[in-house]
Symmetry: C2
Subunit: 384 residues, 2 copies
């Protein structure tokens, strides 16, 4: 394996009934800005649980953060945070709310002009407000990492940033929050976590058995437990296993010392930015195309994945790879997630726009930095 | 799975040539006390590497920390730390040096009288000097947790303590340190890490597939990579995989939300305290006895372990359990570690002393708190 550094100081508080712990985790006398989304937390009762738990704090609110959160929305929250002299941010929601909260945390203390530069110029974050999270949706892993993805509505750009400064100090994960999620969000969460694991796993072998087997452990658990959650929303044990899987999928642990390939996310972000397709669904569309396009580079790991996850032991290498890709597609489809661009009415015109953007940016992706705009076009065309 | 809390802020710096990073991890102007063992770091060159890296720091030394480190030795180091107004402790060595350093860190700032109370009375640690570690031996996992085991020579007591205050701020893991280890230390390290995993895994099922599969991932890796290290000490990849396995075996991750059973360690500590047997060897002796004695309580997990780790699929439950215990014994023996008390000339008289001590202490162990001094006696007699 490669040399690596790893540090993850986020405190996880996991289990039923844990939301009331939030008051113990925030410094006394903190002025808190609670961030949330479209208001589902009010229907589910989480909003009231948090308000009750924090009744002895000075608590401000910023709701209305959208899925694929907008830079423009974050900047409104930054204004509130500055005006009210907020000193702690509490994200209550899923990955979108938390990603937005990370930009709000950095943006409030940003001294280099427009905080969009954190994304567009990868300007390093030197300071950020402290963040805590109450997670209501297992999916993105944002609750135990320092990464976020933000969309600039004005330009239809969806970009990522990361910094240890915006890692949550704590994240509260109550699996009972899963009970009230619609099918679509559960399915998306399973697919998102699955893709996260694959992008840290499906590259080339570097003799990293712990990382490989941990990744495979998460994949198998998502395959076994995800459908249980879809079938029975009040299966607490399945919800808990799904939630912990999604967190472990992107807290950096399975990425240590191994190559990574975030091509699927990079291309998927463009499909969301241009067409508004759910993030997880873009991954289910793009990933099989990446597997097929890079079937030679990724041969050893695809075969390992096919054997260990899908039990495929017979056939030529090419037959094993074909069947493994099909099994992956079948899994996404079994969750109710369609996997072709045509399922989302995406035309060749969009492919050209994405190719042009990657050409302009000089984008090169993949574990060998060899996926350019031309291969991106070929990957997308194979998924029409 | 059960509710849990998890936080592990130790920064891991892993890989060949990483020891020179140490200077970047310690605050400028820190007065450092470097702790080490019997001097093997001088033979291997690690001592010089550290001294060179820290030439711009005020550096004191405390060597001579023994395996199964003594409270009495730690107290001498506490005197040095107080006298020299040390503000950073750097442990250079294996788990024994690091465990001692943890007691030195807490003992130097202890204000409740005799620091032995941290062990004998479980007195809570409220403050400790910051610790960094350079690990030279994969085994105990002490490099990424807040636990330590200390022996009071005067009374032949070997006791454990734990606190987040004594977690290393950073640990540098250079697998090349493995190249110079004798067979005995490599074998002991493999067995120690193996036992750590088993004691967090072999209890009763609580529907925790991630934790179970992560544990199994570490076991399989130890079984595959451990013998490679024993066979070829300069196999860097195998050394790296062994080192990372040992760290992951006891950094708390596989313990979240599941029952644990530290009976083997508790009994093993007594064998070391009374007879001076290597720690890992006591585990290899005791663990098969615990498996056999608790074969009914642990039935489901023993069968899962037998199937997933040793590929045992046929037979009655009892036959599978018998074969699984035998496979475990065979594994320890294959490392050159004997597994019977008679191999170490331990007599029934020692069993009586251990039983008496546990009777006096009112010791109850195991995931069901049902292993008392009488069962301890039976476990030990079965291993004569």
């Amino acid at each position: 394996m490669y040399n690596f550094k790893y540090k993850n100081p986020t405190k996880i508080i996991f289990g039923k009934g844990t939301i009331s712990n939030v008051a113990n985790e925030i410094p006394a006398k903190a002025k808190i800005l609670m961030t949330y989304g479209g208001g589902s937390i009010k229907k589910t009762g989480v909003y009231n649980q948090v308000k009750n738990a924090l009744k002895n704090f000075e608590l401000f609110e910023f709701g209305g953060i959208e899925p694929n959160p907008h830079y423009e929305t974050c900047m409104k929250a930054v204004e509130v945070a500055k005006k009210e002299k907020i000193d702690f941010l509490l994200s209550v929601g899923g990955g979108s709310v938390l990603d937005a909260t990370k930009l709000i945390a950095a943006g409030t203390l940003y001294k280099n002009g427009d905080p969009w530069k954190i994304l567009s110029e990868k300007d390093r974050i030197t300071d950020a407000l402290p963040i805590g999270a109450i997670l209501t949706l297992p999916a993105t892993g944002s609750e135990m990492n320092g990464n976020a993805v933000i969309t600039k509505n004005a330009t239809q750009e969806k970009l990522a940033f990361g910094s240890p400064k915006v890692m949550p100090q704590f994240s509260i994960l109550d699996p009972e929050c899963v009970f009230t999620l619609p099918d679509r969000q559960v399915a998306n969460g399973i697919a998102d976590a699955f893709a996260h694991v694959m992008e840290q796993y499906l590259t080339f072998p570097v003799n990293s058995p712990i990382q490989d087997r941990f990744a495979e452990s998460i994949l198998i658990t998502l395959i076994e437990e995800g459908p249980k959650v879809l079938a029975n929303r009040s299966d607490y044990e399945a919800a808990a296993n799904l939630m912990w899987s999604a967190t472990m999928a992107l807290n950096g642990l399975i990425a240590v010392g191994v190559p990574q390939d975030w091509t699927t996310h990079d291309i998927g972000h463009e499909l969301t930015a241009f067409c508004g397709i759910d993030h997880a669904r873009t991954l289910a569309v793009v990933f099989p195309g990446v597997m097929n396009m890079k079937r030679d580079n990724k041969k050893d790991k695809i075969i390992q994945y096919g054997k260990r996850i899908w039990g495929i032991n017979k056939g030529t290498d090419n037959e094993i790879i074909d069947l493994t890709i099909q099994k992956t597609i079948d899994f996404f489809e079994s969750l109710g997630i369609r996997t072709k661009l045509s399922d989302y009415d995406v035309s060749e015109h969009i492919i050209e726009r994405i190719m042009n953007r990657f050409k302009e940016r000089g984008t090169k992706m993949g574990e060998n930095t060899d996926i350019d705009y031309i291969e991106t076009g070929a990957i997308l065309k194979s998924r029409l």
